[in-house]
């Protein structure tokens, strides 16, 4: 998530014309405290139970329950999925380059 924050202006045009929604199965309180500590400039959504992750096929079922799996979807203005990065390689700098290029292409 730090990379999203640090490259927010570059990748997400500072949030102009493109919205980032970061989703996990954590409680909203856990996400809020993390966002506050890290000063994340984007919205996080609490998918307790993993229902949204399962709708998108972005989940792992573990013995302890469902967790959302690191996957990025870009939804275009027409409401359709325009780009998928699965798995999203959070620690790989080239993943952010690909993401930035895809956003630049899709969010016109």
């Amino acid at each position: 998530m730090d990379a999203y924050r640090d490259q927010y202006a570059k990748i997400f045009k500072g949030g102009k014309g493109v919205t980032l929604l970061a989703i996990s199965t954590d409680a909203d309180t856990a996400l809020a405290s993390w966002a506050r500590d890290k000063e994340y400039p984007f919205t996080m959504l609490s998918d307790v139970g993993g229902e949204a992750g399962q709708k998108y096929g972005a989940f792992i079922r573990t013995p302890r329950g469902v967790v959302d799996n690191r996957t990025v979807f870009i939804v275009g203005a027409d409401g359709r999925i325009a780009h998928v990065m699965a798995p999203f390689r959070e620690v790989d700098a080239t993943a952010y380059t690909e993401l930035a290029e895809a956003i630049a292409r899709i969010a016109r």
Partner: protein
């Protein structure tokens, strides 16, 4: 083998087996209509209202699923 003994043998075999592989979802593909969702939101300013994907109709939205708060991914 007696039925109950057989059941016990099966239970022991299962207990000794390596952990069952985790089931992983198959991500939706390009071109598919993005399913709507409505979820509680949080920002650096605290808890927010619920947010739906449909709130952003006509805009580009990047949905980034991740494992866990306070993890690298």
């Amino acid at each position: 083998m007696h039925g109950r003994t057989r059941l016990l043998a099966l239970a022991m075999a299962l207990a000794a087996a390596p952990a069952v592989a985790q089931e992983q979802g198959k991500p939706l593909s390009v071109g598919v209509e993005a399913p709507d969702f409505t979820l509680p939101s949080a920002t650096s300013r605290g808890l927010g209202k619920t947010v739906s994907l449909s709130d952003f109709h006509g805009q580009t939205v990047v949905i980034a699923f991740f494992y866990r708060a306070r993890s690298s991914g």
